[in-house]
Every structure is written in structure tokens, then in C-alpha cells.
């Protein structure tokens, strides 16, 4: 009964599933593992470029970009426009923003748009990885193209009926209109005939003039899930309910790499509701997306599973990481940054300049492991019927979920269906689908019965793919004006590559290219060194990734240099950046530039200077403040966007901190959904402050010491900034898009610590801040 521009997914010819693990990070990971010791020189962009030197951006992503209107849009005989969201919604608003672009270019009324979530199917939708602040950056133009295709098909039908040239008609508010005659037809009346037309060729696509766009960059489209969220009528990973569903939790080895020696499950089996105890084999290194193994309790409800797990008597062999200890590891990182190491960037001769300099300054900055702590811990449900597995999960990487589940169940990719639920937070944790694989293995153990796996908060904090721990040492040779003539940065941190290639022990180009090697300061001699550091736990991506420690160190050190030079931090920072110019990212020792073309995405110092001027002018930089109050500044280039932040602190005599105001300025290219850009800045600000104040995962005897939110504290309402003002730089739609979800994180911790220093004279170099302000 529904006339559609497209047939349903089931009617589409099944395209051959790509048996090669496919996705930018996935592609690299597979290759990195096989390259072994060579990986330092090969980052994600490096490998992609080797495969095809011409490809950047979305085209370089496995699965690529798809702009086929038939895959994304259908219009019912009721006129309802259904648009597929192919990226995962985790709070960034992408299920609203991408369909909104389609709808706007189509001329649809947002109130008559329905959004459906794509299953994992990169052959059909193109790359679906929701990470790297890429979704809008890569999909804006394809989504516009798709909307324009659908619009032109409707316009063609209307023009033919009215026997007028198609150039004389246009869409607006869910109608096609012929202005000269005043005639109009609703989408409902045109959809059936439009569906019979061929899809317009790429060269015949005409985009709407910017002035005719209603939603893009302008009127806010109501969040597509908003009304359901406030009535509790949403489906996150943990909310899946399937007939006959069983409930499971897993006791995992408390030390990464540990193994089960024995389990006595007699008491657990006596807990009412407990049905089965299932041993899960661990996976040999590298960890990749494989389950950690352990012992699962299958029960008739979640609580029985949890109680059953408490009753297990478990004996573990802790393995090689049994002595991992954060305090000792920190000392080893400190020792590492005090020794010469292999250079990742070497411009001029920093060592000679430092040796010859009359005045030098050095400082070391520490950032502990951080846990993502998504409010919804990982959760997945799986069932297997007739050799086909169906998974419901809150995943950021749907296709990797298919591939990893298929690998573990020994199925073909096309026999695994992954339904992507809403994500109760992602931040990079849910890019790793280990939990979906666990659910699938448990369903297999239960003869295919549907099994919902819940991770408790303790599971989440103690078995995360943690943000790395790092020590950053910075040293500068200073001239008579207090400006650096030489820069030496040693960055010691376990690498994410260790999760995918056993033994990987140096940060990779994609990590170093996040604010370390590409430090954009106008300094003659720059050297960045990378000591070898082993990993003792799973290391993974966390919102803004290696920018967090690198920017914390560099932006703090810049303020320390300004102080040493007895200069205003802002004007000193502008001098450090030097004059407006475009820097080729390849000239900074490392090709990595977030996968984007170096020509189209140079590091633009004019834009960096501009966000500094914008944030500081809005914050009233330089104004007189009462005792205990001060402003702190930091700037960052990441995910090809520019962000400057000014944080105002108010610290009383007891050392208690309040944050009355934060001013954030971003230049992320054109502003597609400004309200959701603002909400991402607000969120990054609060998450950044939370991590800086209290974020720390520590290890003792190989075990994570924090179990729940009383030990891993998250910023609460009373301590949050009272006001966050977001200042968005306007750009035309022709400018390249930058990222939004991550770029506002890196400058937060240094801006906060710079403000604390300005207010109290106390320089904080070791995160988290905790009670360091009040300590003498």
C-alpha cells in the first residue's frame, strides 16, 4: 500500500558481503596486526593512502560514501517521508541532523518526516562507523545530494502533470509549487509516479540556493527522539525485549590477560532464577574486539543473574599483568620521558639549541587512565535461529560488530544481522563491540535462545578499553624575550595499537598527530620524541583521544612560558602561534590529519587566532576580577576544527572551586545544526571538567581500584559551570566541514588549570585536580 521511492531492505538484492574487515580503523587494525613491528610508521591514513593515494575523507573510509537516494529515502502515499539514519545516535543528535539535511534539500516539512535506524549494512549505506567526529563532516554532501535527488524526482512528476518546464517548479513545505500559476501538489500525490522515474544522474543535480534552506544552519529541527526520551519510550541497548529472552551477566578475569583456573558454581545454581553457568574462553592477545572470557550466569531475570554471579567461587590465574600498579607505572613513565628517545618530528636542532640556551624551562604533566563511563553500560541481546544470528546492541561500529560476531560464531557475515539501538552514551567505548560478541556466544551456548547481556557499572569501569595513561615532558629554550627558540616534547603513553597488535609499544602517527607532532607554534627548532611504553590493559579511543593528554600538557606549558616571560597569556599564545598562515600538515613530521586532504584541510593559523580572539573578547579577557576569581585560556586544533575556551573560576579561601562562566568558540566550518553543535560544546566542557577534576582509573595488583561512581566520580549538577556560552564561527556551506563531537574536549583541562593558576598561583600538572587546590 505504500508507494515508495525505494523498496524495503528485504526486497533489495543481497550484495556480497565484504569478507575483508572493513572500516577505517578496522582496516588499519587488521593490517597493523599483521605488520607487527613495522606499525610505528603506518597509521590509518598512511595505509589508506598507500592503497589509493587520491582518497581522503569519507571516500577513504571502508564502505565509502553512498549517496543513493533509493537506499535512504522513501515517500509513502500518505506523504510521510521516511529517511534512514545510518549512523549511531549517542547524544550528538546525528539521527536528527543527517535526516534534517535530506529533508531540507528535499523541501520536506520536518513534522512529516520519520527516521528509521539502519541495520549494519555498509554495502547499502556506506561507512557506518560513528566515531572520529566524522558523521556530519563526511555525510553532509551525500545527504544533500540524496535530498536533491528525491526533490528533483518529485519536481519532474509535477512539472510533467502541469506541462511546464521543470525549472519553473520548486519544493517548499512538503509541496511542489509552480509559482507562476499558483499550482501546488503535495508530496503524497506525487510519490507513486516519482518512484517510477530513474534516479537523476550526478551531473543533473541542482542544490537549493542557501537562501531557500529552512533547517540547515537555521531553524532548529526538533530532535527526532526528544519526545520519546521524555516519556521513557525509547529503546537503548539495555531495553531490548525479545520473547523467551534470558538474562546474563559475566564474571570476567579481574586482571587483563588473566584466565579462569576453576569455578565452583554450586551456590550460584541455588539462587532462584539462575538457569545455567557458562564458561567463556578468553582470547589470546591482542585483545581486539574479542571477549575477555570468564564465567556467565544465565537467569530468568537480571537480578537473579547478578545474585548468581556473586555466589560463584572463582579462582583466576592473573597472568602477565598481575603486578600492574599505577603508582609504579607512573614512575616508569616519568623515567622514560627523562631519557632520549626516538624522534617522531625533528625540525631544526632542538637538542643543540637547548644545550646552548642560557634560559630553559621544563615541566612534566601526568594524565591517568580514564574510563568512558557511559550512563548506559555496554548491553546487547542476541539470538540464533536456523544458523542466523540476530543482535540488538548499542554499537558505534555496526559493521565491525557483524564481522566480529560472525568470526566467533563461525558464520558468514551475511548470516549476522545487527540492529543498532539508541546508545546511552558512546564516547568511543561502544566502538568496540566485545559485548555484542559475548551476547552472541551466550545465545549459542543456550542453543540459540535470546540472551540479553547486561554489564553492571562495576563491569564497565573494571573492563573498559581505557583511555591511555600518559606522562608528557616539555622543555623549551627561551630567548631574551621569553619566546621559545627550541621545543622538546617527550610523550610516553601506551598505544591504542597494543589492543590490536600484541607488543605494540609506541604511540602511532594517528596518536602523535593529535596535538603532539603537529604543534603549530612558530618555533625554529621542534623535536617530538616517543619513548617505548608497554600496555598492561585494554587501551582504546576516548572522545578526542590523544589530544586529551597532549593538549593538556602543551596548553598548560604555553601558559607557564607566558608566566615566565611575565606576559599576558593571550598575547603570548598568539605570538607562539605566529602570523596567520596555512600550514601543510605533512610539514609537521606526520601525515596524519584526521584522514582529510592536506590541501583542503591545512592547519589554518588565522582560524586558530580568530577563535582565541572570539572566546577572549566574549569572556572579557583582561577585565578586573575579584580576589579568588580568574580566567584561564586554551586553544586546540583537532578533528580539523578549531576551538578556544576561556574558563572563569571562583576559588574561596578554603580552596573550593566554582565555575561561574565558560566561553567556548569553535570554527568547525559551516554550522549544519547549530543547536546540536552548542550541545556538543556544552557536553564536552562538562565532561572535560569532570575528567580534569576527578577522572582517574588506577590499578593495584593488576586490578582496577574503582568499582562504581563513589570512586570514579562524575561531575554533578552543583559543581557544573553555571553558564556555558558557545560562540560559533559562521562559514558558508562551501567551506569544508570540521568535526564537532570531540574538538571541544582537549582545551578544557588546560583552560581550567590555567585559570586555577591565575587565581591561586598553584600550577597543577598532575590530573586529576581533586584536592590539589586546597593543599598548600
Amino acid at each position: 500500500m505504500k508507494n515508495q521511492l525505494t523498496s524495503s531492505a528485504a526486497e533489495q538484492p543481497q550484495l556480497a558481503a565484504n569478507s575483508v574487515v572493513s572500516a577505517s580503523r578496522r582496516l588499519w587494525l587488521k593490517s597493523a596486526a599483521s605488520l607487527g613491528g613495522l606499525i610505528l610508521t603506518v597509521g590509518p591514513s598512511g595505509l589508506v593512502m598507500a592503497a589509493d593515494a587520491a582518497k581522503f575523507g569519507g571516500d577513504a573510509m571502508p564502505g565509502g560514501l553512498v549517496d543513493n537516494v533509493l537506499a535512504f529515502v522513501s515517500i509513502g502515499s500518505d506523504g510521510i517521508v521516511t529517511i534512514v539514519a545510518h549512523r549511531s545516535e549517542m547524544g550528538q543528535g546525528i539521527r536528527t541532523s543527517l535526516p534534517m539535511v535530506v529533508a531540507d534539500e528535499l523541501g520536506a516539512d520536518w513534522a512529516k518526516v520519520k527516521v528509521i535506524q539502519a541495520d549494519a549494512d555498509e554495502a547499502r549505506y556506506g561507512n557506518q562507523d560513528t566515531d572520529g567526529s566524522r558523521s556530519m563532516r563526511h555525510s553532509f554532501r551525500p545527504m544533500r545530494h540524496i535530498g536533491a535527488c528525491a526533490r528533483q524526482m518529485l519536481e519532474t512528476v509535477a512539472a510533467a502533470r502541469w506541462e511546464v518546464p521543470v525549472a519553473q517548479v520548486k519544493t517548499s513545505n512538503h509541496e511542489v509549487i509552480h509559482a507562476a500559476s499558483g499550482r501546488r501538489l503535495g508530496f503524497a500525490a506525487l510519490a507513486a509516479d516519482a518512484a517510477k522515474l530513474p534516479v537523476p544522474g550526478k551531473t543533473s543535480i541542482r542544490l537549493k540556493p542557501t537562501a531557500e534552506l529552512l533547517y540547515i544552519g537555521k531553524q532548529h529541527a526538533l530532535g527526532i527522539d526528544l519526545k520519546n526520551i521524555v516519556t521513557g519510550n525509547t529503546q537503548y541497548g539495555i531495553d531490548t525485549r525479545v520473547d523467551g529472552m534470558l538474562y546474563a551477566v559475566i564474571a570476567r578475569p579481574p586482571v587483563f590477560g588473566g584466565k579462569l583456573v576453576s569455578v565452583d558454581s554450586s551456590a550460584a545454581l541455588k539462587v532462584p532464577g539462575v538457569l545455567r553457568i557458562v564458561e567463556l574462553a578468553g582470547s589470546p592477545a591482542p585483545a581486539m574486539y574479542h571477549p575477555l572470557g570468564g564465567v556467565a550466569v544465565i537467569a530468568s531475570n537480571t537480578w537473579a543473574a547478578i545474585k548468581g554471579r556473586e555466589a560463584l567461587k572463582l579462582v583466576w590465574d592473573d597472568g602477565a599483568n598481575a603486578s600492574y600498579d599505577s603508582a609504579a607505572f607512573r614512575l616508569s613513565l616519568q623515567a622514560a620521558v627523562r631519557q632520549p628517545a626516538k624522534a617522531a618530528r625533528n625540525q631544526g636542532d632542538s637538542m643543540a639549541a637547548l644545550a646552548a640556551s642560557k634560559k630553559t624551562l621544563s615541566a612534566e604533566y601526568y594524565l591517568p587512565h580514564l574510563a568512558h563511563a557511559t550512563m548506559e553500560a555496554p548491553a546487547a541481546t542476541a539470538r540464533i535461529v536456523n544458523g542466523k544470528c540476530e543482535v540488538w546492541a548499542c554499537v558505534q561500529a555496526p559493521q565491525a560488530t557483524v564481522a566480529t560476531v560472525a568470526q566467533h560464531l563461525k558464520l558468514k557475515d551475511q548470516d549476522v544481522t545487527v540492529h543498532v539501538t539508541l546508545l546511552g552514551g558512546g564516547f568511543g567505548r561502544k566502538s568496540k563491540p566485545d559485548f555484542a560478541v559475548e551476547a552472541a556466544l551466550l545465545s549459542q551456548a543456550m542453543q540459540g535462545a535470546p540472551v540479553k547481556l547486561t554489564w553492571t557499572r562495576e563491569d564497565d569501569l573494571q573492563h573498559d578499553y581505557l583511555h591511555t595513561v600518559s606522562m608528557e615532558r616539555l622543555e623549551a629554550a627561551l630567548d631574551e624575550r621569553g619566546m621559545p627558540s627550541a621545543w622538546l616534547h617527550r610523550t610516553a603513553a601506551p598505544t591504542i595499537a597494543s589492543t590490536f597488535a600484541a607488543g605494540a609499544n609506541q604511540q602511532q602517527p594517528f596518536e602523535l598527530g593529535m596535538s603532539a607532532t603537529n604543534v603549530p607554534f612558530a618555533i625554529a627548532n621542534i623535536r617530538v620524541e616517543v619513548p617505548e611504553v608497554a600496555a598492561h590493559t585494554r587501551i582504546g579511543w576516548f572522545r578526542s583521544v590523544s589530544n586529551i593528554p597532549h593538549a593538556f600538557a602543551i596548553q598548560s606549558f604555553a601558559a607557564e612560558l607566558a608566566h615566565a616571560a611575565q606576559r599576558d597569556h593571550k598575547s603570548y599564545l598568539l605570538d607562539l602561534l605566529g602570523p596567520a598562515r596555512k600550514i601543510d600538515p605533512r610539514s609537521m613530521g606526520n601525515d596524519f590529519n584526521y584522514g582529510e586532504s592536506p590541501e583542503r584541510y591545512p592547519v589554518d593559523i588565522a582560524r586558530m587566532r580568530h577563535v582565541i580572539e572570539l572566546a577572549t573578547s566574549k569572556a572579557g579577557w583582561g577585565r578586573k576580577l575579584a580576589k579568588g576569581k580568574a580566567l584561564g585560556l586554551a586553544v586546540s586544533y583537532s578533528f580539523v576544527s578549531y576551538v578556544a575556551v576561556v574558563i572563569e573560576v571562583d576559588i574561596n579561601a578554603k580552596g573550593e572551586l566554582r565555575i561561574p562562566m565558560v566561553d567556548m568558540a569553535i570554527d568547525c566550518g559551516p554550522l549544519i545544526n547549530p543547536d546540536r553543535i552548542r550541545s556538543q560544546l556544552e557536553g564536552a566542557c562538562i565532561m572535560g571538567i569532570s575528567l580534569a577534576l576527578s577522572g582517574e582509573i588506577s590499578f593495584k595488583q593488576g586490578r582496577v581500584e574503582q568499582s562504581n561512581f563513589h570512586q570514579y566520580e562524575i561531575l554533578r549538577a552543583y559543581a557544573a559551570p553555571r553558564e556555558i556560552r558557545c560562540h560559533l564561527v559562521e562559514n558558508s556551506l562551501e567551506i569544508e566541514l570540521g568535526g564537532v563531537g570531540e574538538p571541544a574536549m582537549p582545551p578544557i583541562a588546560p583552560a581550567l588549570c590555567n585559570a586555577i593558576f591565575a587565581a591561586t598561583g598553584k600550577r597543577i600538572r598532575n590530573l586529576p585536580i581533586r584536592d590539589q587546590i586546597s593543599k598548600a
Partner: protein, 155 residues
Amino acid sequence: MTISFKMNGKPVTCNSADDTPLLWVIRDELGLTGTKFGCGAALCGACTVHLDGAPVRSCQTPLASVAGKEVASIESLSSDNSHVLQKAWIAHDVPQCGYCQSGQLMSAAALLAENKNPSDSDIDNAMSGNICRCGTYPRIRAAIKSAAAELRTSK
């Protein structure tokens, strides 16, 4: 043994074990998934419901303790977004991922039931048991103030 109570105004009888936290009874046995699991230790507020009108953390409320009482969850506010707080949440586009918002709304509803003109510190006190990892606190604060203002003018 069974326990009877009122869930969102309707009488229900539950078979879960007496010590089962109300959270899991609501989610697993009654099938209402608007109430969320966040920590299992009354630390995050995601599971907040009203017990005889007062906000409680359902993850620390044993089933046996609600016998004969009235339990209200997010689904009780309204199913058509007509509750003053739901309207304010929509107007301020408060949620990001949305996962914690059921608990935030139930804490806010309990606050406004007692106090139609909450100060910032009243909001701090009522809302600081609810964690939002996405960082929607400033919008939650603004939405509560808007809703309170609407309540005051509509009286």
C-alpha cells in the same frame, strides 16, 4: 510469594523474589523500560521513581518494601508530552543521549511538587544525585526554572 502495589496508578502483583530491587521488577517483570539502570548503588539517579510521591532510587528499593504503596515511573508523567517538565525539556532541547533523563525528570518532578520557585541551590540539592555524562546540567537547570515559572503563572 507475591507482592502487590500500584504501578503508575494500576494495581500490579509481582512474583520476583522479595529482595529484588524495584528497578528490575519494573524493567524485567513489568516490562517498563523507561526506568534506567545506571549503577545499582544509588549513586547516579538513573533509576529514580516516586514511591508514594517521594523520589527514591529503585535500584536500592527492595520489592518487599513497596507492598501496598504507589510507585510512579517516567511513564506516569504523561504519554503525550503534556507535563510541564516534558514541555520544558523539549523547549530547551535538554537531552543528548537521553539515557539519564528519565531519572532527571523524576527528580525534577519531585522538586516542583514541593517547590514551585526553586532557587539554584534548591535545584543543586534536588538534582545532584542524578549524573548526566553528556553534560546537560545547564539545560536541565534552565528547563526546571522554565517549568516552575509556568507552574506559577498557571495557578
